[in-house]
């Protein structure tokens, strides 16, 4: 991993997706990694799992940077991806949820219910945006479990941090399914360009299903973000050959999509920044 690769943009998707053919051993050299967004932790956890499942040994070289190494360990990237029972982390290197597999819809409800009280009790600086965080987990993980359709299920992780003296909560959600563009084209074949398809999926009432009551999940993540105490927020989505960024600053929404290298699945990062603290 080149230095700086820990950002949510994970510009190394092609390398991580690569088929290593007959190799029987791989090395994850994270020694130069600085910072570790939960979306990148999800990506690495799935990469490690894939190679182990294919019978390869995986040699992991941990980050040399102290803070990044603590976070790398708190995410338990050397271990198998856990279930909801092991999801929550009690104040370890600011990790809130370690990479956790949600294979059934009941597990989405279970995770949101389990997260609510610890979020309030242990992370009161970011708990002021909990309605937006829980809406994102509920709607986006539900989408991934319902529409992602892969053996890997939906994998989610979260952590907190500080940016310019403000608190930040970061969420990463990944699945190895068909990806948003292909799914959305099931009912909207006109969205042929992937970043356009992702951008449309973020609009109200646009769904890959034929049902008129669907397609409101992303909109409600935005609505709850706008209703929250977030100073700013950002959603990043990558799927197929498209990437899309939605920035929210001072209640203004700015969308931007672009073409990028192809990747399998759908990868979503949501970050909320706040100066608020929970008024108990």
């Amino acid at each position: 991993m080149p230095r700086g690769a820990g950002s949510r943009d994970h510009g190394y998707a092609a390398e991580l997706d690569a088929d290593l053919g007959g190799a029987d051993a791989v090395v994850l050299d994270a020694s130069d990694l600085v910072d570790l967004h939960p979306l990148f932790a999800v990506r690495l956890a799935l990469w490690i799992e894939r190679h182990r499942r294919d019978g390869r040994s995986v040699d992991i070289r941990e980050p040399e940077d102290g803070g990044t190494r603590r976070r790398f360990r708190a995410f338990r990237l050397g271990r198998a991806i856990g279930g909801v029972a092991e999801a929550l982390v009690e104040d370890d290197a600011d990790v809130i949820i370690r990479p956790t597999r949600l294979g059934e819809l009941t597990e989405v409800d279970e995770l949101a219910d389990k997260l609510l009280q610890p979020l309030i009790d242990q992370f009161d600086d970011v708990a002021v945006v909990r309605d937006a965080v829980l809406m994102a987990i509920s709607e986006l993980c539900q989408n991934a479990v319902e529409h992602g359709v892969s053996d890997a299920g939906c994998v989610v992780a979260a952590s907190r941090g500080e940016v310019d003296g403000m608190s930040q909560i970061m969420l990463g959600i990944g699945d190895c399914g068909v990806g948003i563009p292909k799914h959305i084209r099931g009912s909207h074949p006109e969205f042929v360009v992937d970043e356009h398809a992702i951008g449309q999926a973020l609009q109200e009432g646009v769904s890959g299903t034929q049902r008129p009551d669907r397609g409101y999940g992303f909109t409600w993540v935005l609505k709850e973000t706008l209703s929250s105490a977030a100073s700013s927020a950002e959603m990043f989505v990558r799927a197929g050959q498209g990437a899309f960024r939605r920035e929210i600053v001072d209640a203004r929404v700015k969308d931007h999509g672009w073409n990028t290298s192809a990747t399998q699945g759908t990868w979503i990062a949501c970050d909320w920044t706040t100066i608020g603290r929970l008024d108990r």
Binding site: V108, D109, L134, C141, Q142, W220
Partner: protein, 117 residues
């Protein structure tokens, strides 16, 4: 001024479903479908049912729409069907529930009848 109590069905026989007994946060349509079936069973063919959100701190749009939105659409289409009256809402839950009813195009009259606000 209308009080919350005056908006609640007057029949003391109206069954009450206490959602908070099942958790503080509710996320998926699948969970809502399960709870809707439990409420229909509780109502046992009666007309009114109280759905008490006291203690519920977070509901997703999908959950609210699949639980209350579906009930409300049926009630607006057929006033003889089960009438769910929602009480004990947090500000977050009220915001999301009303958003669901608005998206479904329900009248203000029905929205106020089912979700007193």
């Amino acid at each position: 001024m209308t009080t919350l109590e005056n908006d609640i069905p007057q029949s003391s026989a109206s069954p009450r479903y206490v959602l908070g007994r099942h958790g503080q946060a509710f996320s998926t349509r699948a969970r809502a479908e399960q709870i809707r079936a439990e409420i229909e069973q509780l109502a046992a063919g009666g007309r009114d049912v109280l759905i008490d959100f006291e203690g519920v701190r977070s509901v997703s749009y999908s959950f609210a729409d699949e639980l209350i939105g579906v009930f409300a659409s049926r009630y607006e289409a057929d006033n003889d069907s089960l009438r769910p009256v929602v009480i004990g809402l947090s500000a977050q839950a009220q915001r999301v529930l009303l958003g669901s009813l608005e998206q479904r195009g329900l009248s203000d009259e029905v929205s106020r009848e089912l979700v007193p606000h």
